[in-house]
Amino acid sequence: MLLKNDKISEIINGKRVIVKKPELLAPAGNLEKLKIAVHYGADAVFLGGQEYSLRANADNFTLEEIAEGVRFANQYGAKVYVTANIYAHNENIPGLEEYLRALEQAGVHGIIVADPLIIETARRVAPKLEVHLSTQQSMANWKAVQFWKEEGLERVVLARETSAEEIREIKEKVDIEIEAFIHGAMCSAYSGRCVLSNHMTARDSNRGGCCQSCRWDYDLYQLKGDKEIPLFDENDAPFAMSAKDLNLIRAIPTMIELGIDSLKIEGRMKSIHYVATVVSVYRKVIDAYCADPDNFTIREEWIKELDKCANRDTAPSFFTGMPGYQDHMYGSHSRKTTHEFAGLVLDYDKETKMVTLQQRNFFKPGDEVEFFGPEIENFTQVVEKIWDEDGNELDAARHPLQIVKFKVEREVFPYNMMRKGI
């Protein structure tokens, strides 16, 4: 689906290359995850502060941590966006100005917001912050996007319900940056239009209190006169509103050709292993496509790689059309991952071939492990003898965050990760 008149690609030395490379935007649930995301190739990260952000339960950033995150990201030329995407209540108004000023001062590039209260306050007190409209506004048409452009916003994160065709039309009609989700969990409701948690658990979903009631089981009945007729058989899994996680790896070429400005991975609550895996795969896909779009094919190993950190089934959702029953989960709402994160590389001695590694899950001599990271091609090997920091031989790496050493044949680099099958 090529746009007729785009500046997305150019012919250079007889070969078409992509000149408008989209931003790869990754979640940063805490400072460690931020560093991993940036190191593994994210062009930008988004994070939540202590206030005004959904995901109120995650270990959100303090202002000092935000400033440190910005400094780290700047070294890589990466940007930091802060989500301030709650729908505020009266009681949230005091303190907002101070908070936004502090974000500006910390060097944050932009904020992701839904509530016009926060948009206008940011414009007034922290004008250096870019303002991006959150998907919480569920904007799904070009005219609404036009409205926000006229309000002076730099970017709109579209409703998750928009299809490729709809995004193409929006891009054609409105000159504004568009951000779209490519990977991760999602609301099955129009974002901002679900208050299940308010009703069921007295927690305000539009201020971060969502407890994922859409993933619970319900029984579907029909009232006929006074009779309640079950609309399920004994063997049927119960009704649920649970959506499979989004996975648009196969759609990345289309998204790039559409000129979408930012491709967003969801999941601030996920582990560093998840962030590293997903970011590095999409980094490779985007880079490979942009370098040679006309000879590009999706490599099966990329798809398999994504599966190594997935604990839910995935689907392309609305991008390719209306989701059917295959895009939902009934009965069980998660599944086991195939791999677990076993260790983080701290150091490697090329002469002795000894890795210094921080343990993240139990492993022992004889286990087959896989290393991956931005500097290396994935490889597997069997672990032989393991020592602790003081050189004592261990029967296994048992303790979380324990520092251990063992031999690794190929060179690895700090921040590379080691995983093992389960």
Binding site: I86, S188, R193, C214, Y221, K224, M241
Partner: protein, 309 residues
């Protein structure tokens, strides 16, 4: 004392007569192509007729265009809005800024009510939409009394509050009922079955029943109880709340008419004879309880609830 408007939802054109006689001041109508979760479906011809009827009674009529729009309908908004303006409806209810943009283009004098359902949660944002052209904000049903009164105190726009009926807990674009039937393998029945009436989800843990239905706007899941605060109107009347809404979606016309009569009485007493209101309010509540469908318990919504996050 200023009386709030009593705003109700007719199920059909002829129902408007009953509601007028029951004491309604205004009605909301519309069609699901543009509006969300309406009590009835009103074609353009019906809208014309409705305008004629409300004029006889000195009432107002508002038309719902509060759907979440995708590109496919943007180009027809102008034509519908022009029709509504020519027909003389009193206001358009919107949530999506595309409606506001189109009104500016084709009917700049049309009154607008901002109703984004769950997201009208603070006074600043109500006033923001006021500056963009809205005359009224319809508050989120998830607010408590204190928050409502504080919003009214700071509001530069009219404030509408739902005082009775069901509320929407969840709207998805997905065809959730159809998909579930398809998943069960009942493919042949789906097209007709998914639009049938009376479906609900049973939540064992809370022993609650949530009405669920599908239409052009997707799948809607509704609250298990009907709000009823007929006996708790004083503070909002004193604060000068501009409009009280009775939402009759998924209720029978006869029920909506009766409830309208009772709220008419309650509002009149509350504004004109507070002492009598205090005496009579429990009885008014009991009268509603008496006509309440068996599967729809009453509660006070979020008016007196603490919500955390």
């Amino acid at each position: 004392m200023k009386k709030p408007e009593l705003l109700v939802t007719p199920t059909s054109v002829s129902h408007i007569h009953d509601l007028a006689n029951a004491g309604a001041d205004a009605v909301i109508i519309g069609q699901q192509r543009y509006g969300l979760r309406l009590a009835g479906e009103f074609s353009r011809a019906d809208v014309k007729e409705a305008v004629n009827i409300v004029r006889q009674y000195g009432m107002k009529v508002y038309v719902a265009m509060n759907a979440i729009f995708h590109n496919d309908k943007v180009d027809e908004l102008g034509d519908y809005i022009t029709f509504l303006a020519d027909t003389g409806v009193d206001a358009i209810v919107f949530g999506d800024p595309a409606v506001l943009m189109t009104v500016r283009e084709v009917a700049p004098h049309m009154k607008l009510h901002w109703n984004p359902e769950t997201t009208a949660t603070n006074w600043y944002t109500c006033n923001y939409w006021g500056r963009k052209g809205a005359k009224r904000a319809v508050l989120a049903r998830e607010l408590n009394m204190e928050a409502i009164l504080e919003i009214k105190e700071h509001a530069e726009v009219e404030i509408e509050v739902q005082v009775h009926g069901m509320t929407c807990m969840y709207q998805s674009k997905r065809s959730l009922i159809g998909n579930y039937f398809e998943y069960q393998g009942k493919v042949m029945e789906i097209e007709r079955k998914k639009y049938e009436k009376g479906m609900f989800l049973y939540d064992k843990e809370r022993d609650s029943k949530y009405p669920i239905f599908e239409d052009e706007n997707g799948t809607h899941i509704m609250s298990p109880n009907d709000i009823c605060i007929i006996d708790e109107l004083s503070e909002m009347v004193d604060a000068g709340i501009d409009s009280f809404k009775i939402d009759g979606v998924l209720h029978e016309p006869g029920y909506i008419t009766e409830v309208t009569k009772l709220y008419r009485r309650a509002i009149d007493l509350c504004a004109e004879n507070r002492e009598q209101y205090e005496k009579e309010k429990d009885e008014l509540l009991a009268k509603i309880e008496a006509i309440q469908p068996k599967h729809r318990p009453l509660d006070t919504g979020f008016f007196f609830k603490e919500t955390v996050y």
